[in-house]
């Protein structure tokens, strides 16, 4: 079965510092990987995705993610964190096989706290 894991429940970073939110995946075949952000009392918003091509994917709000096949990771990064980046971040993988074709599996979420 396809799955993603987010090993950190919470990440704390000071404003202006780089941030990394970790995600590892377990899939058979080529992975379709996604990052989403959820602000309090809101729905999930799409940030970026990796389908194929360059391992470094750029997305919304200055975020990027690096696909690493050997380490089966898809970590979310930003060079300089903003207080407004504080939110809950979800990594997801889309199942491409047979009857599960439309399933998106989400990680458990990582709460990012950016302190002024």
């Amino acid at each position: 079965a396809q799955s993603v894991a987010q090993p950190e429940d919470q990440v704390n970073v000071a404003e202006g510092n780089p941030l990394t939110v970790k995600c590892t995946y377990s899939v058979s075949g080529n992975p379709y990987l996604f990052w989403y952000v959820q602000y309090p009392n809101r729905g999930l918003q799409f940030l970026l995705k990796y389908i194929t091509g360059d391992n470094l994917v750029k997305g919304s709000y200055g975020f990027e993610a690096e696909f690493n096949k050997s380490q089966t990771s898809f970590h979310l990064k930003k060079p300089s964190a903003l207080v407004s980046d504080s939110a809950l971040y979800f990594c997801a993988v889309r199942d491409l096989k047979g009857g599960n074709f439309n399933k998106f599996y989400f990680g458990s979420g990582t709460k990012l706290n950016v302190k002024p």
Binding site: F34, G43, L44, A92, K103
Partner: protein, 113 residues
């Protein structure tokens, strides 16, 4: 224009009641979903429809019944509500092709008292 809209946003109801949550998407997507987010923020898929046809039905009590009158709408009806049904329910949609993104509504906060 809201891409995926769901109503109501907040719903407080008593145990044993029956309630419905409605969802509509104006993105022209073929596939729609219901996800449940529990108090620990864990997201779990409940149902998925593709062009009005049920394609994913996870282990969900049969008190939960989805209905898709057309591919732009997916409603969720819940019978005999229980305390454990309290959660945030998200509607979502996506194009059918594999590389495409899933888009979420703003959520419906259900509290059963």
């Amino acid at each position: 224009d809201t891409a995926v809209s769901q109503t109501p946003k907040y719903l407080v109801t008593q145990m044993g009641n029956d309630k419905s949550i409605k969802c509509e998407q104006n993105l022209g997507h073929d596939t729609m979903y219901w996800y449940k987010q529990d108090s620990k923020k864990f997201l779990k898929i409940m149902f998925s429809y593709n062009n009005k046809e049920l394609i994913i039905n996870e282990t969900v009590p049969n008190r939960f019944s989805p209905k898709s009158p057309d591919k732009a709408h997916l409603n969720l009806h819940i019978n005999s509500l229980e305390l454990g049904d309290s959660a945030v329910y998200f509607c979502a949609s996506s194009p059918r092709t594999g590389g495409n993104t899933i888009y979420f509504g703003e959520g419906s906060w259900l509290t059963v008292v």
